[in-house]
């Protein structure tokens, strides 16, 4: 017996001695993204939530929002060491950092790559954010490490569009030209992690970029799995299979998950949920019906549905925390009696039936069912056509739904939001369409005037005016903002304070570590 015991102990020790160093070496981080699959892994093509967080680890901008922050005040040098602008704000020169290496042996980043990237981001045939670069008259390489951007007019934030977000992400010219279309499945950047492989519908794998200019990352490999079912993510997180998961944005979930030793991070930006109203078609072409709609919606109940830890009310069309957000809006309060009266006055005393398209995605479908119940109390009967998420995205851009519940976070300056959702150029089914579902154009003048207004106070005034006009016309009913919610295992140390993240998730940087 003794012999057996000793042998077993020895065997155990041997195995643990063997396995210990491997555990210490393997800094493999696994995480789960709330999506069925990747969108397109090209930062100029995709603005989808599930891709943003991956881009943030693969790419750099000329400047960046300091990790864990999304405030314009926290913009710091990234690929550019320094920059200057002319007095009229129309010419900008960026001095690039030397020796920055692209992934996979694509060489050093030079001014040519920056010119290529910004031109690519401004190309409407390829880029989905080309409108951000409309004012870019030219982007030139002065020498290998100097880039000059000349604008045709002043825009609210030049640094914003060259930061590490959407079109500001810098890609390799050589890789872009060599790979062409297939760049989407093989992105090449300069960030702390390099793309390694994508298993469609399963995971994307990133590996450490040893030559990263801020130093080699501590983490060796990141596996980001695509798991759309919240309960599947929870289960895998609880069993320790995953280090980091996208959470469910409700108080219940936050309370339950933060009970153990895991951390639940609730952070900016708030994604504003807005009910866009098609003002061009009956019954909502009648302002009284739109006012009735606004009066019928109970914001408090919607906030309670998600919970006050993760949701907060907002009556303005521009999200809270964005430059230009107007917090002092005169809005139509919850008043079901008034809603009924207005509806009757508009010629619908017996109520009205409204067929709408809605995604099956719980984060929008849930609140929409609450709204459905609220509206039914005043006689507006919403009939759902429930669709798969991407089919729904297509349908609302085809202008089929009189009401569109949309949630979005954009670059945190009022102009982006107002332009994309409320400027006449952005009206859906037009050549320059973005996401103006309401067909509203009454705030065009203010939106355009604010864009190139050098005086900050005047600019704010234009933006405030625009927001009040949109609320008065009930182009949309801004409802509430949902913050970002992620759960992190205790062994993760992000290496920075997570207050906000424009990439909508905790970004793994070169400083992030995993402890035992």
């Amino acid at each position: 017996m003794n012999v057996i015991k000793t042998t077993m102990a020895a065997a155990l020790m041997a195995t643990s001695a063997l396995s210990l160093p491997t555990i210490a070496q393997a800094q493999d981080l696994t995480m789960a993204i709330a999506a069925k699959s990747a969108g397109q892994l090209d930062p100029h093509v995709s603005t989808k939530t599930q891709d943003k967080i991956v881009f943030a680890m693969i790419f750099n901008g000329l400047v960046r929002f300091a990790p864990g922050s999304m405030s314009s005040d926290a913009i710091e040098p990234d690929l550019a060491e320094s920059w200057t602008s002319s007095e009229d704000g129309l010419v900008w020169e960026f001095k690039l950092r030397e020796g920055v290496q692209f992934h996979g042996g694509y060489g050093e980043l030079t001014a040519e790559d920056v010119v290529y990237s910004l031109t690519r981001a401004g190309n409407p045939d390829l880029s989905s954010v080309s409108s951000d670069y409309k004012a870019f008259k030219s982007v030139e390489a002065i020498d290998d490490y100097t880039v000059r951007i000349t604008l045709s007019e002043v825009i609210p934030s030049v640094l914003g569009v060259v930061a590490n977000y959407h079109g500001g992400n810098m890609v390799s010219k050589k890789a872009g030209e060599e790979l062409g279309e297939s760049f989407q499945t093989n992105p090449v950047g300069t960030g702390p992690f390099a793309f390694s492989q994508l298993a469609e519908g399963q995971f994307v794998e990133l590996v450490a970029h040893e030559d990263y200019f801020r130093g080699a990352p501590e983490i060796d490999k990141i596996t980001a799995r695509y798991m759309s079912a919240a309960s599947a993510r929870d289960l895998a997180f609880q069993t320790g299979e995953l280090h980091m998961i996208a959470g469910s944005r409700e108080d219940r979930w936050v309370d339950k998950t933060s009970g153990g030793d895991a951390t639940v991070a609730v952070f900016e930006p708030g994604e504003l949920r807005t009910l866009h109203v098609n003002t061009s078609k009956p019954p909502f072409d009648d302002i009284r019906v739109r006012q009735a709609l606004a009066h019928a919606i109970n914001r408090e109940e919607l906030i309670a549905f998600a919970g006050s830890k993760v949701a907060r009310g907002n009556e303005a069309p521009v999200p809270d925390g964005y430059i230009g957000h107007e917090s002092d809006i005169t809005f139509l309060p919850y008043d079901p009696e008034k809603a009924k009266a207005l509806l009757a006055e508009a010629g619908y005393p017996d109520g009205v039936e409204i067929p709408i398209a809605i995604t099956e995605l719980a984060s929008l479908f849930g609140p929409m069912q609450v709204i459905q119940a609220q509206l039914s109390k005043v006689g507006m009967n919403i009939k759902f056509d429930v669709m798969e998420h991407s089919a729904w995205h297509k349908a609302i851009r085809d202008d089929v739904s009189p009401l569109v519940l949309y949630g979005a976070a954009r670059f945190p300056v009022a102009d982006t939001y107002l332009t994309q959702f409320y400027h006449s150029d952005s009206i859906v089914k037009t050549p320059t369409a973005v996401t103006n579902f309401s067909h509203c154009d009454m705030a065009d003048d203010q939106i355009v005037a604010a864009r190139s207004e050098p005086n900050k106070e005047m600019q704010q005034q234009y933006w405030s005016e625009a927001q009040q006009i949109l609320v008065d016309n009930v182009c949309s009913v801004p409802l509430f903002e949902l913050l970002q919610v992620w759960a992190l295992a205790p062994e993760i140390d992000l290496g920075y304070e997570l207050g906000g993240s424009l990439s909508l998730g905790p970004v793994i940087t070169e400083k992030t570590t995993l402890s035992e």
Partner: protein, 290 residues
């Protein structure tokens, strides 16, 4: 069992048969009673339900059983018990309508195929074979996905899914019956084929078909639940059992009861129908009569 019975089983009336069955097969009787209770509960849902099934109470969402909410509340704070009662209405209506439709159409096709034979038989039965070749759920899924999810299309999908089974069941006895003397006699009297099929053949196979119908009704209700569960059901807020299970799935870890109770309701309906079906089959199958 008396000698008379064995020699002359057809003499007994259906009523007598049923009574005998009830005495002999207690489990099936229990199933029948259970099914009737469920149907009555569904029919009288507006009288029984303590709450409006669509009334949301956001502040009381995802609560477990309480005196106010007997089976707790769902994601939107709606009363699960009331929703199950109303959900049963839709689920039963869809399940039974589609079974009856499938039974009528399927039997008609099966009898025509069996009676006429030849190329008509081949065409009809090969079409049925084609439908049978797909896994049942896939056929239903395909139809609903293409035509859109609403009450009529779901009924249609389930009907098409189970129709070929009825056609097969009806065809075989028809082939046997058409050779029998009474059919010959009817033909000799100059009755039309339609009359022979409807009045002379159909009544003779109806017993067998009804037995299977009760089993397949359970199956139809399950298909309805499947389709609703994967999001191809009747649009919210209308409650159906499948949609209720689906709605609760998001909270399956922290509030499992939201899915469990409607799931249990599906179980009861399917179980009761299966018990009834089994009993009926035993009663009709001569081999099992003793």
């Amino acid at each position: 069992m008396t000698t008379v019975d064995t020699i002359n089983p057809e003499k007994r009336s259906t009523g007598e048969q049923l009574l005998r069955l009830a005495r002999k097969n207690k489990l099936s009787t229990f199933g029948l009673i259970m099914f009737l209770v469920i149907v009555l509960a569904a029919i009288f849902a507006p009288l029984i339900a303590p709450h409006d099934p669509l009334e949301q109470n956001i502040l009381a969402r995802l609560q477990d059983r309480s005196p106010e909410y007997i089976l707790g509340t769902d994601t939107f704070g709606r009363d699960t018990f009331s929703r199950i009662l109303y959900g049963l209405r839709i689920s039963l209506l869809i399940g039974l309508t589609s079974t009856v439709l499938a039974m009528i159409l399927g039997c008609a096709l099966g009898i025509i195929a069996g009676y006429r034979g030849g190329w008509i038989d081949s065409v009809i039965m090969r079409c049925m074979d084609m439908l049978l070749a797909f896994p049942t759920l896939i056929t239903g899924l395909f139809i609903v996905a293409v035509l859109g999810a609403n009450f009529v299309n779901i009924v249609l999908a389930i009907t098409v899914t189970i129709l070929p089974k009825f056609a097969r069941v009806a065809r075989a006895p028809t082939i046997a019956l058409k050779e029998r003397e009474f059919v010959e006699a009817a033909r000799a009297l100059g009755f039309s084929d339609l009359r022979i099929m409807a009045l002379h053949i159909a009544p003779n196979i109806v017993g067998e078909v009804v037995v299977l119908a009760s089993l397949w009704a359970a199956y139809a209700i399950r298909i309805e639940a499947y389709l609703s569960f994967i999001g191809l059901g009747v649009a919210p807020p209308t409650p159906t059992l499948g949609t209720m299970i689906r709605d609760g799935f998001e909270h399956i870890l922290d509030a499992p009861f939201v899915s469990i109770y409607p799931g249990f309701a599906v179980l009861l309906v399917v179980l009761s129908l299966n018990l009834v079906g089994d009993g009926l089959r035993d009663a009709i199958d001569p081999k099992l009569r003793d």
